[in-house]
């Protein structure tokens, strides 16, 4: 095991210890907030939403503060905190943020207040907002955890609030959807738990010393036999594949999305699907490089199947919300393809899509929610000509939809482009097939848009209200991000890239005979100045 830059950066993490309160704040503010909400008497109905909004906004502020304080030249973990939890098993509350998790944390911070602001609890506001806060705390925990057990704890704990959100506040077949969601994820987690315990035990047997579940420690000193590593990786991969979701483990997703309340769908798409892809990077490529190289063709194939299959099935949907849900399968396929192309561009693209998909699909679900609220149907066939009665909504929908399609200049484009670029360099034929998915995405979304917003305005559609100014204002931050990150993704890339390069470097050092492919012309390299390159090298 070469001393990768990750090791070096852990040492340097002490420098940022002044901000050690950041990550505990990210997790504890919403968690304690949930307790506060639980203590408010049930009849004070008017308070819950406001309190939840305050709590989530405060958390978002901390997340943004973390982004501002983030040192973009540092490839390793920042704001690191570490406290012993269960010392006899070597489990510790170890947290840190690097370039990969930074924007997922910020995304989580932004999406929750917006989802709360844009929607209302249909009934029982107290538990609704309390669960949302628990969900927020759990998501923050997954993205910052640097201990396998802590990661697992948060990965599992988010299930419970989501289960209640779908089951109690959902529509239609909510009980079926909630149960399916819970059991699918738990099925994956069963594999993950056994895998992570095996990994820690085998690692201890290989290197001696005390048992440890520390991700950084295991990443840097991995000494488990290749075969065992591969089995462990398979365990992790099943858990993450359910969460992403990858074909053929995706069938919980359309049900969960369709039946969840709007805020639930938004958070599910924007945040929770990312837990899986994030896990693939952190516990897959970074921690188990050899098995990642070994399994890359299979996972890329599943990603590509997801892209094509998701797109085709989305085309066939008659329910607008289900259509958006299947589009997530396709988008997340691009993320997996990018990650397992094992190139700097691919992984960067993957991270970019993860964030931007959150913003775009979150917006789409909000829009679909608005339509449903007004028309009480999501059937595409019953909607038509909405453009005439709701021009502002049509405009907003157009923008978001085009971003989802991947139109250059909007935020869907850079990530998808980089992921495909990485795929072309690393695995050409997968890239070729995946590119057709871009065309299919244009097909299903444009077609749906055409059916819903164009054509004659018939029946009840004539009575539909347009977006209210307040609804528009709530959407505005998301729309602004869609445009901004489309035109100017550089600030994001600057912070993501050092960490991704460190990971790729780690993979190259760890796996004999593996060199990451690079595209012939590197458009990302031209994006930033020479000084950063030098800083990177010094760091190594």
């Amino acid at each position: 095991m070469g001393t990768s830059s990750i090791l070096a950066s852990v040492a340097s993490a002490a420098d940022t210890s002044g901000y050690a309160a950041i990550i505990p704040a990210l997790i504890l503010i919403p968690f304690v907030g949930a307790g506060v909400i639980a203590l408010i008497p049930r009849r004070r109905v008017e308070l819950f939403r406001g309190v939840a909004l305050m709590i989530s906004t405060a958390t978002a502020a901390v997340a943004v503060f973390a982004m501002v304080q983030f040192d973009r030249h540092d490839a390793g973990y920042q704001f690191v905190v570490r406290r012993d939890w269960i010392s006899d098993l070597g489990i510790s509350w170890h947290f840190g943020i690097d370039g990969i998790s930074l924007f997922l944390v910020v995304l989580t911070g932004i999406i929750f207040p917006i989802a709360i602001l844009a929607t209302k609890a249909e009934h029982d506001p107290k538990p609704y907002y309390a669960w949302l806060m628990v969900l927020m705390a759990g998501s923050m925990g997954v993205f910052t955890a640097l201990d396998l057990v802590v990661f697992f704890v948060f990965f599992e704990i988010v299930l419970v609030p989501m289960y209640f959100l779908i089951g109690f506040w959902g529509h239609g077949q909510r009980i079926y959807a909630a149960t399916k969601f819970f059991l699918y994820t738990m099925f994956g987690s069963a594999f993950m738990l056994v895998a992570l315990v095996s990994l820690a035990v085998l690692q201890q047997k290989a290197v001696g010393g005390p048992l440890t579940f520390d991700i950084v420690d295991i990443t840097n000193n991995l000494a488990v036999s290749t075969n065992a590593q591969r089995l462990v990786f398979v365990g992790f991969a099943i858990a993450f594949a359910v969460k992403v979701p990858l074909f053929p483990l995706h069938t919980w997703l359309p049900d969960a999305h369709t039946n969840a309340p709007t805020a639930g769908s938004v958070i599910l798409a924007a945040v929770m699907l990312k837990l899986g892809t994030y896990g693939f990077i952190r516990l897959g490529v970074q921690m188990l490089p050899e098995p990642s190289v070994w399994a890359a063709p299979v996972l890329m194939t599943l990603g590509v199947i997801g892209i094509i299959y998701g797109a085709i099935v989305a085309t066939m949907q008659t329910d607008l919300k289900r259509l958006v849900a299947y589009s997530s399968v396709a988008h997340l396929g691009f993320v997996v393809l990018g990650i397992f192309s094992l190139t700097v561009q691919g992984i960067e693209g993957g991270v970019l899509i993860m964030v931007n998909h959150g913003i775009i699909t979150g917006s789409l679900f909000l829009l679909v929610g608005m339509i449903y609220e007004r028309r009480h149907t999501r059937e595409i066939s019953e909607l038509s000509g909405l453009q005439k009665v709701a021009p502002i909504m049509a405009g907003v929908f157009t923008l978001v939809m085009l971003a989802s399609v991947g139109l250059p200049g909007l935020s869907g484009f850079p990530g998808e482009f980089l992921a495909l670029l990485g795929a072309f360099a690393g695995a050409r034929w997968w890239g070729v097939v995946a590119t057709t998915g871009v065309i299919l995405a244009a097909l299903y979304l444009l077609w749906a848009y055409q059916r819903v917003f164009h054509g004659p305005t018939t029946g009840k559609n004539t009575l539909m209200r347009d977006m209210t100014p307040s609804e528009f204002l709530v959407m505005l931050p998301l729309l602004a991000l869609i445009v901004l990150l489309g035109i100017f993704p550089k600030p994001m890339l600057d912070r993501i890239e050092p960490s991704v390069e460190a990971i790729i470097h780690h993979v190259e050092v760890s796996v004999d005979g593996f060199t990451s492919a690079e595209p012939e012309t590197d458009p990302v390299a031209t994006d930033h100045g020479d000084s950063e390159e030098h800083a990177e090298e010094v760091d190594r």
Binding site: I86, E122, D124, A190, F191, V197, S198, V201
Partner: protein, 521 residues
């Protein structure tokens, strides 16, 4: 009789020896037993002048006293090491003291739930509490037995009291049926156990666990058919008591029929004692030498319990039956700790038993309250709408159910993590995977109850807030039952969030077989 049991051939050859009777070593069992008998005396003296609250308080104080008596012994053992007492028939080690504590906790919970239950059912009387304390004394004896016959005596004291308790609800036919079923099958299993003890005696020439251990370490038995048959029969006996598949058939019927507070003790304390006996015999005594012989058998029991328990649980409609099958599945998990046959495995099993006692006490405690007068409302439908009519109770039950499913930040998760860790450490990763997948199946069962409590009563639209009422009379929560539920809730969460202290204690609670130090005359 003790002389016959305890003396190794060496002792007999040496001739000169004496045994000091160290009463303090068996103080916890003595306190429980005398507490039970004394209660009976007090009741007969002050006939009719005592309220039923007194019985509960007495039981709680006696059980608490037994725990208090165990604490100085624990410190002794931790400092000076384990020892054998009472002519080598009682083993005083961290393990037996830990189990003593867990059994007493289970007794306290049962007593707290019994109080309100007996008032509600108009069955107040001291007998329940007396039997409970006597049974616990048997359990403690069993956990600290260093001799197979002492173990058997403990098991009988434990069981006979529980047979009666199961049938104590005199107006319910199902309770009578449960008591009879439990008695017949229990007696049957005791016979197996006794038969096994006889075979082991035939194979090794002694019933003392210390002597068996030494004998097997020193001698290789070439014709070990007798011993193996003995092991198999012992396993059948223990299998009945811990309700492992395929010896589980009595469990759902008995749990369903028996008075629910008694079930908190049956599923908790009785199982804890039976597992303690099993670990003492299989892991500690036969572990070093015969682990490869018994491991395949226990492996099969574990897999069957995990899978059958989980699968059967999800097709039930009666909540007590569901919980009965889920307790079978839990037994499978605890068997993993036994299978590991290591100090870690034992510590994991002990920690699991501790967490399990709280979870099961809480779950059956809720079932006690929902059963309402007559103790009969135990169908899934009887839980419908609990989330609205009794939000606190529903939330508490949800925590117990999620803990049983192994959701993190509850003790249930930590217990599973420890057991999985121990079994992976022993190289049985496949079994670990089977266990976790069976936990997913079980999760479906717990979700069904949650669905019934919350989702089926809620309405889709915002304004039509029709309060979905529970069918039947309202659910009342007696103060003591509420206190018990609160304690169990705090314990389950605390063991999940700060498991460190409990796991350290479980880690120190190693079971050891130490020959008695002879005092020459």
């Amino acid at each position: 009789m003790i002389g016959l049991l305890a003396h190794t051939p060496d002792d007999l050859a040496a001739g000169n020896f004496s045994h000091s009777v160290s009463w303090s070593a068996i103080a916890p069992a003595l306190i429980l037993m005398l507490g039970g008998i004394l209660l009976l005396v007090i009741v007969s003296v002050f006939r009719g002048k005592l309220s039923s609250g007194f019985f509960t308080a007495w039981t709680v104080i006696v059980a608490g006293g037994a725990i208090a008596a165990a604490i100085p012994l624990w410190h002794d053992v931790q400092e000076d090491g384990a020892r054998s007492e009472m002519a080598g028939s009682v083993g005083l080690d961290g393990f037996s003291l830990f189990v003593t504590g867990v059994i007493c906790i289970s007794v306290i919970f049962a007593a707290l739930f019994l109080d309100g239950y007996l008032r509600r059912e108009k069955l107040e009387g001291p007998e329940w509490y007396v039997l409970l304390l006597l049974s616990a004394a048997g359990g403690v004896t069993m956990a600290s037995a260093n001799d197979l016959l002492v173990l058997f005596v403990g098991l009988e004291i434990l069981s006979i009291a529980v047979y009666i308790l199961a049938a104590m609800h005199s107006r319910r036919v199902t309770s009578q049926e449960a008591g009879l079923k439990y008695f017949v099958l229990g007696a049957f299993s005791s016979a197996f156990l006794l038969y096994g003890i006889a075979f082991v005696y035939g194979g090794t020439g002694t019933t003392n666990l210390v002597s068996i251990n030494i004998f097997l370490a020193d001698n290789v038995i070439t014709q070990n058919g007798l011993l193996l048959a003995g092991l198999a029969l012992l396993l059948v006996g223990f299998g009945f008591k811990i309700a492992a598949v395929p010896f589980h058939l009595w469990t759902p019927d008995v749990y369903q029929g028996a008075p629910t507070p008694v079930v908190t003790y049956m599923a908790g304390g009785v199982k804890v004692a039976a597992f303690a006996g099993m670990i003492r015999v299989f892991v500690v005594t036969f572990g070093p030498t015969y682990v490869n012989e018994w491991r395949p058998m226990v492996y099969a029991l574990a897999v069957l319990s995990l899978v059958v328990g989980a699968l059967m649980a999800i097709v039930q409609t009666n909540v007590k039956r569901m919980l009965a099958f889920s307790s079978i599945s839990h037994a499978g998990f605890i068997l993993l700790g036994v299978l590991a046959s290591s100090d870690q495995g034992t510590a994991a099993a002990l920690f699991y038993l501790l967490v399990y006692t709280f979870m099961v006490a809480g779950s059956f405690g809720v079932a006690t309250l929902i059963g309402r007068t007559g103790d009969g409302r135990q169908n899934l439908g009887d839980y419908r709408g609990l989330g609205r009519s009794r939000p606190g109770l529903a939330l508490t039950f949800t925590v117990f159910l999620l803990a049983q499913a192994g959701v993190p930040l509850t003790g249930g998760f930590m217990a599973k993590l420890y057991v999985i860790g121990a079994i992976v450490e022993s190289g049985m990763t496949v079994l670990a995977l089977i266990a976790m997948l069976s936990a997913v199946i079980s999760a479906f069962l717990y979700l069904r109850i949650v669905v019934s409590m919350y989702f089926e009563a809620s309405t889709d639209s915002a304004d039509s807030e029709e309060p979905a009422e529970l069918s039947g009379p309202p659910v009342r929560i007696p103060k003591l039952a509420g206190l018990a539920l609160g304690l169990a809730l705090v314990a389950v969460l605390a063991l999940g969030i700060v498991p460190g202290p409990a796991t350290r204690v479980a880690g120190d609670a190693t079971a050891e077989l130490v020959p008695e130090v002879e005092v020459p005359q």
